[in-house]
């Protein structure tokens, strides 16, 4: 008691500072993200709005991804609301920050569930998704995924698992298969793998450890990095000493930009194949050194330019090229709306029922779910050149 009395006597500065820290520790970012929800475009319709939830990374090293996701959803919602919404119900959005962190993600999911969202648009990070899945199941709220790629998500969804998680993007088990084939086709004999030290990175690395040797490419070793890691020099020195002919990188765009710069700074001129990181954001991050990314390959479930109408819409609103997460969540919204249309309703149960029936082609694949609630997604092999990502090869969903 004496301590709190002391605080009150000391004046406003200390109290404010203490409050800031308490709030930040208790999840200020979550509250703040929810407080900055997108404005409802509803204009007084008599039907209750459909409340959608977005669990995204709005803070931390992945903090830009949540904003991109919000942009994609907001643009899609505005289009739908302009046409009267879904069955007359306008769409609104609640957001919560999962920080791309399994420790923070449960708070984000619980916040959205307490807001009675109809659907949760799930995290872009596999670790966060895996911990949110049981919470969505307990709340009987569909958790829709278009970003996380860990194979466990498929394994734990659908029959015998979590019936409330649905994923439209390919898992790393599929992407690694095609990526390994492509790497082998470039006559590469040995690679070193650098992967994020989390569910996403470790989950993907295990498939490259088997798929590459199956294609005649030796994996010399796997090094792990922390998202947001500033210094790759110790890892790159080791790879140089191993005489690897190429590097396979499983990580995020921001880390790819750092890796590319430091490879050049170390004089390490070997091919770089990336999983999930070759996105247009890296050109902005590299600034005037955008040419450093020339020749970097990407293996991913997404590619720009496959939806010109959304690209034009994004360009008109944000005056720049649509980043991948924006397209991804926009696609996911369209799949959700299609499911609601099929089911003839707008509740969570209607979304579930519609997703079981849906069979529709969209820009990145086919939204038709198997017994593990996994849809079929295209896989794209790309290459960066002069600040633009070019498509080299595509493996289309059947």
């Amino acid at each position: 008691m004496r301590t709190w009395n002391c605080l009150r006597r000391r004046g406003p500065v200390t109290a404010i500072a203490a409050a800031l820290v308490v709030l930040s520790v208790s999840g200020l970012t979550t509250l703040t993200a929810s407080a900055t929800q997108a404005k409802s475009t509803s204009t007084g319709t008599s039907k209750a709005p459909i409340v959608l939830g977005l669990s995204g990374a709005f803070n931390g090293s992945n903090g830009y991804v949540g904003n991109y996701a919000q942009q994609g959803l907001t643009l899609g919602m505005a289009q739908l609301n302009a046409r009267g919404g879904v069955y007359g119900h306008k769409l609104t959005l609640r957001m919560a920050s999962d920080n791309c962190d399994p420790g923070t993600a449960p708070s984000a999911a619980k916040k959205l569930i307490s807001d009675n969202v109809t659907v949760i648009f799930g995290p872009n990070c596999s670790g966060a998704t895996l911990v949110e899945m049981p919470l969505a199941k307990a709340a009987k709220t569909p958790l829709l995924e278009s970003e996380s790629t860990n194979a466990k998500i498929t394994a734990e969804s659908g029959v015998g698992g979590n019936p409330y998680t649905w994923r439209i993007n390919a898992s790393d088990s599929v992407i690694a298969k095609y990526c390994s084939t492509f790497i082998a086709s470039k006559k590469t004999k040995s690679v070193s793998v650098i992967a994020e030290n989390d569910e996403y990175g470790r989950g993907a690395a295990q498939f490259y450890s088997t798929d590459l040797p199956a294609n005649g490419v030796k994996v010399l070793g796997t090094q792990y990095e922390t998202p947001g890691q500033a210094d790759y020099d110790p890892i790159l020195s080791k790879i140089q000493a191993e005489n690897a002919q190429a590097i396979v990188f499983v990580g995020e765009a921001e880390d790819l930009a750092t890796l590319i710069e430091q490879m050049h700074a170390a004089g390490l001129a070997i091919p770089l194949y990336t999983r999930g990181a070759l996105e247009t954001e890296i050109f902005g991050e590299l600034g005037k050194n955008v040419d450093l990314a020339n020749g970097v390959f990407g293996c991913d479930y997404s590619f720009y330019g496959t939806d010109p109408s959304f690209d034009a819409l994004y360009l008109k609103n944000y005056h720049t090229v649509a980043p991948e997460p924006s397209v991804s969540y926009y696609n996911l919204l369209q799949v959700m709306v299609q499911a609601m249309t099929l089911a003839g309703g707008v509740t969570s149960a209607d979304v579930e029922a519609g997703l079981r029936k849906i069979d529709v082609k969209y820009s990145w694949g086919i939204a038709k779910f198997d017994s593990h609630n996994q849809a079929q997604s295209n896989v794209y092999i790309t290459v960066a050149k002069n600040g633009v990502i070019h498509l080299l090869k595509e493996y289309l969903a059947a």
Binding site: C6, R10, G11, V13, T14, I16, A17, A18, L20, V21, S24, N59, G60, S61, N62, G63, Y64, N67, N197, Q223, Y224, E225, T226, G228, Q229, A230, D231, D233, P234, I235, S237, K238, Q240, A241, E254, A257, T258, E261, Q262, H264, A265, A266, G267, E281, G284, E285, L286, G287, K288, N289
Partner: protein, 295 residues
């Protein structure tokens, strides 16, 4: 052998980075009398100031380095006058909570101004690679880091050891009350130390961050490493901070090469825990002064 020499070079870069930042932390702890949990964010702020001068305004590298250092010093002066000065004389938790809050605030402001996406501040020197035969490679920017750090540390040693201002700082660090009684303006000396520490952070940013990317969260990792270094070296010892920087920098680089990069941080923390168990005052701390050696 080539790997060992390459990692030694990498370790020296880390040593330089940690040494500059940790010396600032020691200055603030010793002279100002607080533990500054926003210290890494001073590096982040210095990095963005450097970015503005070097990338946005197109100033030459050396000019951008000097301008960023001066600008950071000015901001530090403002932070000290508005926030830190009021916390110094409070209960022990007030500066702790206050600097934590300052850290959150600085990151939020940086994200609002520059967005969360990282940015490159690479100089042409980063890509000027010098091959050392079978010993590996080093780039020109890394040489700037070594030379710049050496000059900074020598200057710091000279100022602290031989200048009137340095003597005042050491005196305040040892006994604030006695200094006040003897007519030394303790507050002014503390302000000087705070600004000098922030300037060291800006120098560290301008030297090392061209080798990396700058982002609003760039300060988090360096704050933690700086504390590891300071605890290992002794909370009040500049010499300890330099030696500990070398140990931590080498452990980080060599463990990534010879053990696993997944546990690089763990090795550094492990060394710190061993130090706390067997010699809590640190390598150069003074047990009679509870770790404090007066710089």
């Amino acid at each position: 052998m080539s790997l060992l020499l390459s990692e030694f070079t990498n370790g020296l870069v880390l040593t330089s980075y940690y040494a500059l930042v940790a010396c600032g932390l020691v200055l603030i702890f010793g002279v100002v009398g607080i533990v500054n949990f926003a210290h890494g964010d001073f590096v982040m702020l210095g990095g963005y100031l450097f970015y503005e001068f070097y990338i946005v305004l197109g100033e030459p590298y050396l000019a951008a380095l000097v301008l960023a250092t001066l600008a950071e010093g000015a901001l530090a002066l403002l932070m000290y006058v508005l926030v830190v000065r009021r916390l110094v004389s409070r209960e022990w938790y007030a500066p702790l909570i206050g600097t934590l809050a300052l850290s959150v605030l600085l990151e939020s402001v940086a994200q609002a101004i520059w967005s969360a996406a990282p940015r490159s501040v690479a100089t042409p020197a980063v890509f000027h690679v010098i091959r050392l035969g079978t010993a590996g490679t080093v780039n020109e920017q890394e040489i700037y880091v070594f030379v710049g750090t050496a000059l900074c540390l020598l200057t710091l040693w000279a100022v602290l050891g031989r200048s009137k201002w340095g003597k005042a700082m050491r005196a305040v660090a040892q006994n604030r009350e006695a200094c006040a009684v003897n007519g030394i303006n303790v507050s002014a000396v503390a302000l000087g130390a705070f600004v000098a520490a922030a300037a060291l952070c800006a120098l560290a940013a301008a030297l090392v961050l061209p080798l990396q990317l700058i982002s609003p969260t760039a300060g988090d990792a360096i704050t933690t490493q700086a504390f590891v270094v300071v605890i290992l070296g002794g909370m009040g010892s500049i010499r300890g901070a330099v030696v500990a920087s070398f140990i931590v920098g080498m452990v980080t680089a060599l463990s990534a090469a010879y053990m696993s990069s997944a546990y690089t941080d763990a090795f550094g923390y492990g060394v710190m825990i061993l130090m706390l168990l067997f010699r809590p005052v640190g390598l150069f701390g003074d047990a009679s002064l509870r770790g404090w050696t007066g710089l």
